[in-house]
């Protein structure tokens, strides 16, 4: 198991190098000259000498491969450069907003996992019942609805029309501000988890060991929740890692809709200001979270199913 975790951890290194390289090339080569861009927008008409000085000061006069290596070297120590606009450290800017994003994302994930698994399990156990049909229709709607539209509709109904919840913002972190954004963000993942749980559960219910459990005279609830669910959850765990990607990019949209002061909002604001170091930092940070969670998912998977370890 330790060997497996170590090996899986080592695989992370080339992936993160690839991610930083692609992001770096996008932000520093495809986008054009960063210094000129900055100057265009801010101090138009600056003389050549100042531009050269600035370029030297920010290390932009060096060849790109050198710049990239220095960028990666700094990134490893947690230094992702400074914002062009506020001169604030990118990591500091992200960390200031990380708690809000974590709160939103984790609530959505938790809700998605609990409601999705419960609904999927019951739907499978009561196949073709009204509950099953209703769950599957709701799940289909959940995977088809655009987050921003769901968010705006909820805002219109619950905040504007019925005045039950605050329309947007963070308040002082009260729960009532969290409800709508977390629900909007969780719609997709809840739906996907419900669908996967149901189809996986249907497969497991038919297997021999479940029949055996039944023929032993165990109650149906015990058969489903104690015996069947454990195995049925294996594909759900895998899909959870993939779905996290949707939640991370969904957070960008949700935070924009609800004016939520998280990292996603920081990303959209920074794009608007063409503050590329921040954009670059957020993209790499989100990719890192995604990679780490998928690593954790793989480890959990190998722990549950020993066959994986020996592949």
């Amino acid at each position: 198991m330790v060997v497996y975790i170590a090996r899986r951890f080592l695989q992370l290194i080339p992936v993160m190098l690839g991610i930083t390289l692609i992001t770096f090339v996008l932000m520093n080569v495809v986008s054009g000259d960063p210094v000129m861009q900055m100057l265009d927008e801010r101090q138009a008409g600056m003389d050549e000498a100042t531009v050269t000085t600035l370029r030297k000061q920010w290390g932009l006069d060096e060849p790109l491969p050198v710049q990239y290596l220095r960028f990666v070297g700094n990134a490893v120590t947690g230094d992702l450069g400074r914002s062009y606009v506020s001169r604030e450290k990118v990591t500091a800017a992200m960390m200031a907003r990380f708690p809000a994003t974590a709160k939103l994302g984790l609530t959505a994930l938790l809700f998605g996992a609990l409601v999705g698994v419960a609904a999927g399990t019951i739907a499978a156990a009561k196949r073709n019942s009204l509950f099953d049909v209703a769950t599957m229709v709701a799940a289909l709607a959940g995977i088809s609805v655009p987050i921003f539209w769901l968010g705006l509709l909820m805002m219109y109904l619950f905040a504007v029309k019925w005045k039950l919840l605050p329309p947007s913002g963070y308040g002082d972190g009260q729960l009532k501000y969290l409800i709508m954004p977390a629900f909007a963000l969780s719609a997709g993942i809840t739906a996907v988890i419900a669908r996967i749980t149901r189809s996986s559960m249907l497969g497991v219910i038919r297997s021999e060991y479940v029949q055996t459990a039944r023929s032993k005279g165990l109650s149906e609830a015990k058969v489903i929740f104690k015996h069947a669910l454990r195995n049925a959850l294996i594909p759900v765990v895998t899909i959870f890692g993939v779905q996290l990607g949707g939640v991370l990019s969904g957070a960008v949209i949700t935070e924009t809709v609800f004016n939520w002061p998280g990292i996603g909002r920081l990303l959209v604001d920074s794009i608007g200001k063409r503050d590329l170091p921040v954009v670059q930092g957020v993209v790499i940070f989100f990719a890192l979270i995604f990679a780490m969670v998928n690593l954790a998912v793989d480890v959990a998977y190998a722990w549950v199913d020993p066959r994986i370890r020996y592949q």
């Binding site: 080339p14 992936v15 690839g18 991610i19 692609i22 992001t23 996008l26 932000m27 495809v30 986008s31 289909l140 709607a141 995977i143 088809s144 609805v145 655009p146 987050i147 921003f148 539209w149 705006l152 509709l153 805002m155 219109y156 504007v160 996290l244 990607g245 949707g246 991370l248 990019s249 969904g250 960008v252 949209i253 924009t256 809709v257 990303l267 959209v268 794009i271 608007g272 590329l276 954009v279 993209v283 989100f286 990719a287 979270i289 995604f290 990679a291």
Partner: protein, 297 residues
């Protein structure tokens, strides 16, 4: 001998028990009400998009009149008007053109690039496979829409950049799928038979391997169109995609966002359009998956 081998190869590739796999799949699909409903919605939408100039009461961009700004739905404007006094219905109808084009073009790019690279990776293996698989792994390590957001932030908004960004995001899915299928098919008898008959690499890849991957590709592409349309709407909503005054559903929604209090129709109707399209594609995709691979059901 060679004629017999050829016949066998041909038969194993495309048919089971004398019936073409795709014809059998179509027969199964036709009996499923939900996917057929999805298909019908899509066909109607495609007709609406094609016939847009004949169906729209107003021009989606030019017929602007501030005097008509934010008129509620009624006789003059069936679904109301926007800030510039343009007809929401006409803009929605033209928006179908943008959405469907995005879906088709993006998946066109994804299939072209993804199939080619997936075939190469699966067929040749070795360093070719290492390079292509490495690239797909890294691109898929970006969570969801984030890579497209990053690309758009650099390229700047616009429909062509949307094609490019979403095509870049879409091809690894197709490539991985095709690679996996090819790996499974590569050693099968009909492929070896084709080799024995002297078929070159290109012929084996495109004439023998690819047709056998079509089923899963069709499913992935159907779902991919849905995700491309949703992504374009999301990018446009964030202000990174299609730009106003182009009638993109996502951009229309974003434009109506701040007037949700006094003009909810600006948000509600474009949302319904996106939702219905994605729903129809998901219905069809689910049905295609079940029809093309009955084992999964």
């Amino acid at each position: 001998m060679s004629a017999l081998a050829k016949m066998n190869a041909k038969r194993e590739e495309t048919s089971v028990g004398g019936r073409s796999l795709h014809a059998a799949a179509w027969r199964r699909l036709r009996r499923m009400p939900a996917p057929m409903a999805g298909l019908t919605i899509l066909l109607i939408m495609a007709m609406i998009a094609i016939l847009a100039p004949l169906l729209t009461p107003y021009h989606p961009i030019k017929d602007a009149n501030v005097m008509n700004s934010l008129t509620a739905p009624g006789n003059q404007f069936l679904l109301g008007s926007d800030h510039a006094g343009r007809d929401v219905l006409s803009r929605l109808i033209y928006g179908a053109r943008i959405s469907l084009t995005v879906g088709l073009v993006v998946q066109g790019i994804a299939v072209l690039v993804g199939t080619t690279l997936g075939l190469l990776a699966g067929y040749f293996g070795g360093w070719v496979d290492d390079v292509i698989t490495g690239l797909t792994t890294v691109l898929q390590a970006f969570p969801g829409l984030l890579f497209a957001i990053a690309v758009m932030s650099v390229l700047g908004p616009g429909l062509y950049n949307v094609f490019l960004a979403l095509g870049l995001v879409g091809w690894p899915t197709v490539s991985r799928l095709v690679r996996g299928e090819v790996l499974a098919l590569r050693e099968r008898e009909f492929v070896q038979g084709a080799h024995a008959l002297g078929a070159n690499h290109t012929r084996v890849m495109w004439k023998h391997l690819l047709p056998n991957c079509m089923g899963p590709i069709i499913v992935v592409v159907t779902m991919g169109i849905a995700s491309a349309i949703l992504s374009e709407a999301s990018l446009s909503f964030l202000g990174l995609g299609t730009q106003p005054p182009q009638p993109s559903w996502g951009a229309m929604l974003a434009g109506g966002r701040d007037s949700i209090w006094e003009a909810p129709w600006l948000t509600v109707y474009p949302g319904i359009a996106i939702f219905m399209t994605i729903l129809a594609l998901n219905l069809l995709g689910d049905g295609l998956r079940d029809a093309l691979d009955p084992r999964l059901k």
